[in-house]
């Protein structure tokens, strides 16, 4: 089910607003964001990736209703949508008071308030911090308080701007766990991040942005699990659909294998060489990406896409329905 639906949205500042910085300084009339279509499914984690100024924050603020699109529509199925800022503002009072406030202004009964606040603090693992003075907490703790302050409203959609950018690795994992659990419970989560590892681990849907637009992803993200490599000098990763690929040996609880589309070589017959992964598949689609590159989508038991030159496509006569071999090195696979 779709939770948020963006249609033909453009955003630009009508007038320069000095105090309202939305990621980058707004210049009058300049289009900061243009998204023809984007659908975000309910109960999933969508991760926005892109450089500074790519429009991630603006998109989140539009989804949160803090900014209004200059044109187009944004439909949200959830009644409550809360945005957690990159450096959240905590009120100058205790952690508990911070988390209680959204309920207080809604005149929620005192005992129910207490229960919901307790639950929210427990969800983010801050039960012991309830009486601490919020502004004195560390970055990661503040982030978690802000998430609890949002969760207490039981939002249908939770939006987070770079929730892991300013905090230590342990807090990153803690926040990731919280978000995963939320999404599994039906909350729609949309977050932006610079942290690739975090993005690959968490994302059900990866949304890549550049210059205020959505840009196609240039990596294959395979869901599955890394197998114990034992005595072997090469690792294996089992994709959810059953097939296995070779990857670097690594120990850990990896659930994502990422292969850049440029790293995949297509051939009509199996190539001999040092590359370990040879997968035969059927061409599903061929689509031009820019002037010289072509994206070839394959079905080799799971979906895999390769980015090759226009010239290669012509020489190999690649067309939908054709059988090709996809070759890539085990070392081209990154595990997350």
């Amino acid at each position: 089910m779709i939770n948020m639906h963006i249609r033909g949205v453009r955003f630009s500042y009508g007038e320069p607003r000095p105090r309202q910085a939305a990621g980058s300084a707004g210049q009058a009339g300049q289009t900061l964001l243009e998204i023809p279509h984007l659908a975000i499914r309910e109960g999933t984690i969508s991760v926005l990736i892109g450089d500074n100024g790519s429009g991630k924050t603006t998109l989140l603020k539009l989804l949160a209703g803090l900014l209004a699109p200059s044109s187009g529509t944004i439909e949200t199925a959830s009644e409550t949508v809360v945005l957690v800022h990159q450096r959240p503002y905590l009120f100058a009072e205790s952690v508990r008071a911070n988390v209680t406030w959204p309920l207080k202004i809604r005149r929620v009964r005192r005992d129910e308030r207490r229960d919901r606040v307790d639950r929210a603090l427990e969800q983010v693992g801050l039960t012991a911090f309830a009486r601490r003075w919020a502004p004195s907490l560390s970055g990661g703790e503040k982030q978690r308080v802000a998430i609890a302050r949002a969760l207490v409203l039981q939002p249908g959609a939770l939006l987070l701007d770079e929730p892991t950018s300013t905090i230590d690795a342990a807090s990153v994992r803690a926040i990731e766990t919280v978000l995963r659990r939320l999404a599994d419970g039906g909350t729609t989560v949309v977050m932006s991040t610079h942290n690739e590892a975090s993005a690959y681990r968490l994302a059900d849907e990866l949304i890549s942005m550049a210059g205020g637009r959505l840009v196609p992803l240039r990596v294959n993200i395979l869901h599955g699990s890394a197998l114990d490599h034992g005595e072997e000098h090469i690792g294996r990763f089992r994709v959810t659909d059953g097939k296995e690929i070779y990857c670097p040996t690594a120990t850990g609880d990896f659930t994502r294998a990422v292969v850049r589309m440029e790293d995949i070589i297509l051939s009509t017959e199996e190539m001999t060489g040092s590359a370990q992964n040879h997968l035969f598949g059927t061409v599903r689609a061929v689509a031009a990406v820019g002037d010289e590159l072509v994206r070839v989508d394959l079905d080799c038991g799971f979906s895999l896409s390769a980015l090759v030159t226009q010239r290669s496509v012509e020489e190999l006569c690649i067309a939908p329905g054709m059988q090709v071999c996809a070759t890539f090195k085990a070392s081209a696979v990154c595990l997350y």
Partner: protein, 231 residues
């Protein structure tokens, strides 16, 4: 002025001389009343303008900032011309009454409270406003919370205004007339009693005024140094 004057002043202070106490009480009463009136008007105004963007805002704010240094005698003259028998509000018969002093001092305190509340609140994190919006607060709830978050700035604005009016002499003199037992304040008493040779009372009142001024500044410093960092 001689040594005896200081001894007598000390005596007046220790014995809580009736006139000394009443003059002090008047001063504090007028300053408190005018600060409260000015705060009631200027705080919401400062908040409202800190939270909005509109044409002419810069002009308004810099005008208010300039008015912070308004000469007290000019305010005295202005209010005097309104309240004097021939003035538009002359019929009220307020001139040379506590009310007149309070009106004058309120005018003096208004731009101070406004400017300091405004600048304090506009220095708050711009993300506060968005945080309140995304948590679903109504306009009234947002305003209340912003004042609460800027409470240090608001408190220092009010204290600063109090400090200014309690120590001013121009409006109190022109509008109150230094009437004994009625509108005489610490400052008008010092200004006029000294000329009449009543040094002891002047010295004692001077000490009281210093204590009040130090108290206000101490309070301000406390707010800024110990609570300001968490505001």
């Amino acid at each position: 002025m001689n040594r005896e004057a200081f001894v007598e002043a000390f005596h007046l202070l220790l014995s809580l001389d009736r006139e000394l106490v009443l003059i002090t009480f008047n001063s504090l009463r007028f300053a408190l009343a005018s600060t409260v009136i000015a705060s009631i008007i200027a705080t919401p105004l400062g908040v409202a303008i800190a939270l909005r963007e509109f044409r002419g805002k810069r002009f308004l704010v810099s005008t208010a900032h300039t008015l912070m240094g308004l000469p007290t005698v000019v305010v005295g003259l202005l209010v005097f011309s309104l309240l004097s028998r021939s003035g538009p509000l002359g019929g009220l018969g307020l001139l040379f009454s506590p009310a007149a002093v309070i009106i004058g001092q309120s005018v003096l305190a208004l731009p101070i409270v406004f400017s300091l509340v405004y600048s304090g609140l506009s220095r708050l994190d711009p993300e506060l406003r968005e945080t309140l919006l995304t948590l679903g607060a109504s306009p009234l709830q947002r305003t209340t919370k912003i004042i609460q978050e800027g409470r240090i700035a608001v408190a220092s604005a009010i204290l600063t205004a109090f400090g200014r009016v309690v120590g001013e002499v121009g409006t109190a003199m022109m509008l109150g007339g230094n009437i004994r037992w009625y509108t005489r304040t610490i400052t008008t008493a010092i200004a006029l009693e000294t000329q009449k040779g009543a040094f002891a009372l002047s010295v004692a009142l001077g000490v009281v005024l210093l204590i009040v001024a130090f108290g206000v500044n101490f309070g301000l410093n406390y707010l800024i140094r110990f609570r300001g960092s968490v505001a």
